[in-house]
Each structure stands twice: as structure tokens, then as C-alpha cells.
Symmetry: C2
């Protein structure tokens, strides 16, 4: 059995490792285009802050562990140029040795990730414009940051990455401006969360402009519909696109958002080709259909499952799906969502109530903060459809309680009955989650 | 409608407040034996650490809020000496004015809490022996601590309270010894948790002796089967007993652990008398019967429900029960449990597996720690029966994910499918909860 994996990051290395676990005699080849081992991409913004921590600290495993420990034939700077699905071979551009070769496979895992949209505008290919998608981008951004010591940064696009960067850059005293083309920040979040984000931007002196069209970059000035902005450093994070060109060129079927279309077992339409991670579709349980939400946990889960299923083709397991849980840090706030968001709710027929509850996170012990919980609750049934949180102290793992409730289809009546942990260092006697559920009961 | 509540702390004040919310014209009298308003009892150990924070900072509400805001006739130092269930009157000893009077009721809430077992041994009535159950105890202990500045403390009994105190006292540089009569610390926890507690005791220089019989206290020396111990300050926390004497004397039926026996609506056998909180039984969902677990959240929930049910006797709601969730802080560790413990599991027929998983709480971000998760899983079905955790970083609210799973009767197969939040400041990409569930799947 010979397994080839295209792409050596989260999904790819998970797949390769799972193949090794289940089939000690299989040959496992990972073809990674870049120069970096699998890394924790979500940790990249924070790495900028720690000048003396090399970006390679984000590697998930060492080369030795991958190659000698897990016996994976992991080849860096090995770009796949084409897949021949009939002959079950890939064409590899070996950038280390400057040669081209073919590699045959019995099963292939396509795990190429995604790529950032680039701004096709004058000046946005300058050396001080970064897209901050790969570890190589992070390496270059960090070098620029500490060698050139810019005093101003312009962040284009107000999604998770740039909000995390706004936090980090502000903390290293770089004056930061955030521009967003859409009329509001964080479109997946409701206004009750967004207003708290905007308050924090203001408090921290990060200027934010929404509904902005960018015209061009001329030297260190970016011209926009909101005026000119000084920008010694520009980071553009304006969306991503699954890296599915090679797959599509081989006849691979694309689905949601141009991601590789996968069936419940993560198989694509090409024989013996699976797809996983940021280049693939992700089944959304609540919607009952595939969506696209490229995040680390789903990449790891899909990679592992693809590895299992290709080894056990007669006993494949279905990918159970996601509940769209996502969280990020923003200054002293944590911001998270799970389940359906308002855009998705407005597309459904069911009537729902929005419950917004503000709470202290501790009462009889120092160190707590404030937290806002927003619940979207189906009218009549009380079913929890979605939850969003923003606040201080422990937010992410409180959100997980509601993610669990969403997974299990719990109502707010049930959530109010939960026996959640209480001691003064951790919670008020009525945990904010219970307070929110009790409030929701009145409106359900 | 006139409602009398005996006991003005968590359950009592919750009941009174709920009556006021639901029946603005009801007369609500709270008879509190002590001199303190309702307080957060779980915060008492920590208050000792903060010399300048008065113990009254633990009051849940101000007198003004209770009396003028909520229109509750809240009477301090008003001890109920007897209940006459036929005439629906209570006899009150008014210690403020030195008089005795009767107060009639249409409905009565019995919410007297519990009392500590006292050590009936020579010397254990000395002024430097504390039982640390009430705010008054805390006040006296704190005065002693800062005015007499003891250098050694002897803690008798190794339950939650004394472990919390060991933490606090060590932090104010008092040499602390912990004695336990039972052969091991924390009997509700499994050995995999206990060994971590004992490691921490050792690390922090708190001497611990199990299986110790205490003989007497002579001056500042306590004589035991493990030798003599210096003890300028002694705190005995060797169990509690529900304060149900007055209730029983009136013909009230006692149940588990001598707590007031209650039906699902929190009614007792006495007409129009409800019981709630630390003096009452608590329905344990997994056992399908009443138990006794005197903790803050259940007291608040039961108090509120008793208040609702006495106002709406024709539309009473059942107390949904508890899942035995408990958590406490111990130095840099958090220790928690939810669901069935090993003693309870050994009493059941079902075969179960114990899964122990150690994990980092963060990988690509500083500030994390180590965490141990123990799962008790039913063999065959994979049903999660119980969970215990000990570790650093965010433990309590991770335990809540498993408390939610236990409430809903989830299997480890389902838990492994949860879409839990991930970002480097909060978790590894595989949250320890998912790692534990995946490990459990192999053994289920």
C-alpha cells in the first residue's frame, strides 16, 4: 500500500500519521510545496509579539519525529504540478534538486490548504505588503517588523486574522488602522458582539473604518474612499480560496466556495482520492449540508479520518461534521461563536429570539471580568440554534458548553438545568451560561 | 399570602426573592438566626487571604437592596425555636430585642443550612479551634489570624474546605499540617486525582497524614496516633449535618443524611412547608433518587424553585436535580468532579472503564499548563458515567462540557465529535476533552 499526501500541514500530516498508525507496512509520502514542516497556523499572529521565539517554534512536530519516529517520507519544497487520476500518479517539481519526477499512489490525500485573495491594485505587490497566510509570510512579516521598525500599520480586512494582528501590533506600539470593505466588522457576529469589538478598538486607539474602497498604494500611502492612510506596513487579509487548481485540472469536482467536493467519507469524485482540511468542504451538522469553514480542528479531524478511511475502504466512517465553533483573542477580550449565525438564521423559516445577557464572571474572588452572551433560540421549542460570546476571563470553554448543547440539540429549558461547576475563583453561583438560559426561557 | 422563610442565606434569600418576583403583594418574612446577611460561603477561605477586604464583602446583597429594593422583611438575629405545623405558626426568639413572639404563615420555607460536626475531644472547645462554617466563624478566624499571627496551623479533615484553607494559609506563610481520619484524601476522587493532590501538598510543604486518630488537644499541642503536632490555630472540618432539629421536632420527616425529606416539588411532609438548600435532600439525576450534596448552586436553584412552587401550588415544577458537579481551587490546580464517582460506580452492576489522560492545555501560546482528565465510561455503550479533572489553566469550565455530556447521557463517541473552540490562547487544536474521549473510545 502506497499513500501519497499532497500538502504537509495540519490535514496532510494528520492523514499521514493516521495511515502510519493503522498500517505499519504502508509507504507514506508527503509532498509539501513549502520549506516548512506542519505548523500551528493559528499561532502565527501571537508569534510576532515574541521577538525571540523563532517562527519554527510553531512546528507541530520535529523533522526527526516525522521522518524517523513516524516513518513518514516527508519531502519539503516538493510541489505537485499535476495529478493523473487514471494512472494514479502525481507529477512532482522537486525544488531542492531542481528536477521533475512522477510518484505513483494507491491512495491520494489532497490537503493543499487555501490561499489568500490578493489585492489586484497598484502598489499591493510592494515588499511591505504582506498576506500573512503561511509561516513563510509570518517569517517575512516578523523580519520586516523588527528590522525596519515601522511606526504605522494598515490592516486591510477586518476578519479574525487582522483583529488578532491589531491586538499584537498595538501591543508593540505600532499605530494601527483597520479598513473593511463591508459595511460592518465581523459579519458572522451579531450587532451586540460587534459593538463591543468597536468599543475595544476605540479604547485601544485602533482606528477602524468600514465600507471603505481601496484605490491604490503609492509609496507608503494607501488611497481609499475614506481618505489617505500612512502605511509603512500593510497586511491584507481579505478572504481565502481553497487551493484546488491542481485537483480541478485533474477532473476533480469543486463544491462550496470552490473547495474540493467530498462525500461523507471525505472521498472526492476521483478514484482513490480523498480531500481534507482547508482545501475541502466541511459538513455543517445544523445545516445538513457541506459548507466551508477552514479552521485547525476540522483540518486535523478530517485528515485523521481520511487516513483511516483510505486504509479501511470497506469499513469507512462518516465525517461527523462541525457546528461552526470559532473563537479568537482580541486584547483582553475573547470572542467566539458556535452554531448558526444571524445570516444563516435569517435564511431559515423558523422564528427565533435573540437573548443578550451581560454578566460578571466572578463575584466573590478577584480577577474576573464582564462577559456578554448572545443566544439565538427557536421560538416555541426553545431549541438553542446558536450562541455568541464576547468578554473577559474564561469565555472559550464556556462557549464549549453551548457548543455541546448545540451538538445535542438541547433547549434552553435543558441548559437551565445543567449542573455547572461553581467555586468563587471560576464563576458566580449562577454561571453566566445559566443566567442566559434562564433569560431565554422567558422569551422562548 | 404570607410566606415565612427560616434561614436567610443562599436558599432562603433565593426563595424570598422569587416569591417577591412572582407575587408583588405577598408578605415575605425571612428569619435569620445569625447577624449576617446572605453571603457567598464558598468565598470564605479566600477572604482570609485578603486582609483588608472585610468579610462583609461576601454579602450577596446589601440590606437596603433586600429590605427596600426587594421589599423583604429580613430579620437578623431572629432564631426560630419551634414550628407549629397545625396552627401554621413559628416561635421566634428575637435576640435583638430579647423577646419571644409567634409568626404565622401561609407557606413556610425551611432553609436552615447545615452545621459542622464538632470534635467531642478534650481541648477542642479552645478559642483557637475554629469550625469555619459560617461568616461569623470566618470573622473570628480572620481576627485570630491577623491579630495573633500564628506560625503553625493544624487542619483536621481533608475535604474541600481544608484543602482550600491549606492553600490560603500556606500563601500567608503559616506552616500547615493536614490530618485525615480516613485512609486517603478526598474519598470522592479516584487515586489518579488524589496522587496529584498529594504531590502538590508535598511540593508546597504542607504535611499530610492519613488514617490519623486524634486523641486530645492540650494547650497548643494536638496529640494523635501519628504523633504530636504544634497547633497555634486549629481548623476542624470533619463533615456537616443538616440543621433539621426544629423541623424534625415538628414532625418533619428526615431522609438521606438526616436532611429534610422532600418530594420532587421540594415539599416536605408538613403541610405548606417546603425545604431547600443545605438542610434538604438533593435529587441526583444519575441515581434516580435523592442524595445529599450541600453546595451553593443547588441551594440557589432549590430556593428559587421552592419560592415558585409555593406561589403556584397548582402548577408546581419538579426540581430537575444535580449531577454532583463540584470544583475547588488548590494552589495552582483546579480539582473537579461531575457525575458518578468510583464509590458509586462500584455499587452499580455495570462494568466501566477508567480512562486517564494527561495533556498540555495550550501548545502555541504561553501561559498554559498540564491537566489530567479521568473518565468513567460504561463498557459496551461508551456512556460517560463520570468525569474528574485536576490541573492548571482552565479546568472548571472544561469540566462543564463533560457535566453537560453527563446531563444529556452522551457517549464518548459523541463527545469525540464535539466541535470545541480552538485558538492558541485557549487550547491545543485537539482539546484535552477530545483527546480523553478519543482515548476512551479505544477502551469502551
Amino acid at each position: 500500500m502506497k499513500v501519497v499526501v499532497i500538502g504537509g500541514s495540519a490535514a496532510g500530516l494528520s492523514a499521514a500519521s493516521q495511515v502510519r498508525r493503522l498500517a505499519s507496512d504502508a509507504q507514506v509520502v508527503v509532498l509539501e510545496k513549502g520549506r516548512d514542516l506542519s505548523y500551528a497556523a493559528c499561532g502565527m499572529p501571537y508569534n510576532l509579539f515574541f521577538r525571540d521565539t523563532p517562527v519554527e517554534a510553531l512546528y507541530a512536530l520535529s523533522y526527526d519525529t516525522i521522518v524517523n519516529g513516524r516513518k513518514i517520507d516527508y519531502r519539503l519544497r516538493s510541489e505537485v504540478a499535476a495529478i493523473d487520476p487514471m494512472r494514479q500518479k502525481v507529477q512532482v517539481l522537486d525544488h531542492v534538486n531542481g528536477r521533475v519526477y512522477e510518484e505513483g499512489y494507491d491512495a491520494l490525500v489532497y490537503a493543499t490548504g487555501n490561499r489568500p485573495h490578493r489585492l489586484d491594485l497598484p502598489g499591493f505587490d510592494d515588499e511591505n505588503v504582506f498576506y500573512f497566510k503561511t509561516l513563510e509570510d509570518t517569517r517575512r512579516t516578523k523580519e520586516f517588523l523588527y528590522e525596519r521598525a515601522p511606526k504605522t500599520a494598515l490592516l486591510v480586512g477586518a476578519g479574525y486574522t487582522n483583529l488578532e494582528l491589531a491586538d499584537v501590533l498595538s501591543n508593540i506600539k505600532i499605530r494601527t488602522v483597520l479598513l473593511e470593505k463591508a459595511p460592518a466588522i465581523l459579519p458572522a457576529f451579531c450587532p451586540a458582539v460587534r459593538e463591543k469589538v468597536e468599543e475595544k478598538l476605540q479604547e485601544k486607539g485602533v482606528e477602524f473604518f468600514a465600507g471603505v474602497d481601496i484605490y491604490e498604494k503609492a509609496g507608503n500611502v494607501v488611497k481609499t474612499s475614506a481618505g489617505d492612510f500612512a502605511a509603512e506596513l500593510v497586511v491584507a487579509a481579505v478572504g481565502v480560496r481553497p487551493a484546488t487548481e491542481i485537483f480541478a485540472a485533474a477532473g476533480g469536482l469543486l463544491g462550496v466556495a470552490s473547495a474540493a467536493s467530498v462525500n461523507p467519507y471525505l472521498r472526492t469524485n476521483l478514484p482513490n482520492v480523498f480531500a481534507a482540511g482547508d482545501c475541502a468542504e466541511h459538513y455543517v451538522r445544523q445545516l445538513g449540508r457541506n459548507g466551508y469553514m477552514p479552521l485547525g480542528p476540522v483540518a486535523n479531524k478530517q485528515g485523521r479520518l481520511a487516513g483511516s478511511n483510505l486504509i479501511h475502504p470497506d469499513n469507512m466512517r462518516r465525517f461527523s461534521g462541525i457546528d461552526q465553533t470559532a473563537v479568537f483573542k482580541f486584547f483582553d477580550l475573547t470572542i467566539g461563536t458556535s452554531g448558526l449565525n444571524e445570516r444563516q438564521l435569517l435564511g431559515k423559516d423558523a422564528a427565533y429570539a435573540t437573548v443578550i445577557v451581560d454578566n460578571d464572571t466572578r463575584v466573590a474572588y478577584p480577577g474576573g471580568g464582564r462577559m456578554r452572551i448572545v443566544l439565538f433560540v427557536e421560538k416555541g421549542s426553545g431549541l438553542l440554534l446558536g450562541a455568541q460570546m464576547i468578554g473577559q476571563d474564561v469565555v472559550a470553554k464556556r462557549l464549549d458548553v453551548l457548543a455541546t448543547a448545540i451538538y445535542k440539540g438541547m433547549t434552553v429549558f435543558e441548559i437551565a438545568e445543567l449542573d455547572l461547576s461553581y467555586a468563587p475563583p471560576y464563576a458566580p453561583v449562577w454561571d453566566p451560561v445559566l443566567v442566559a438560559a434562564n433569560q431565554a426561557i422567558k422569551m422562548a
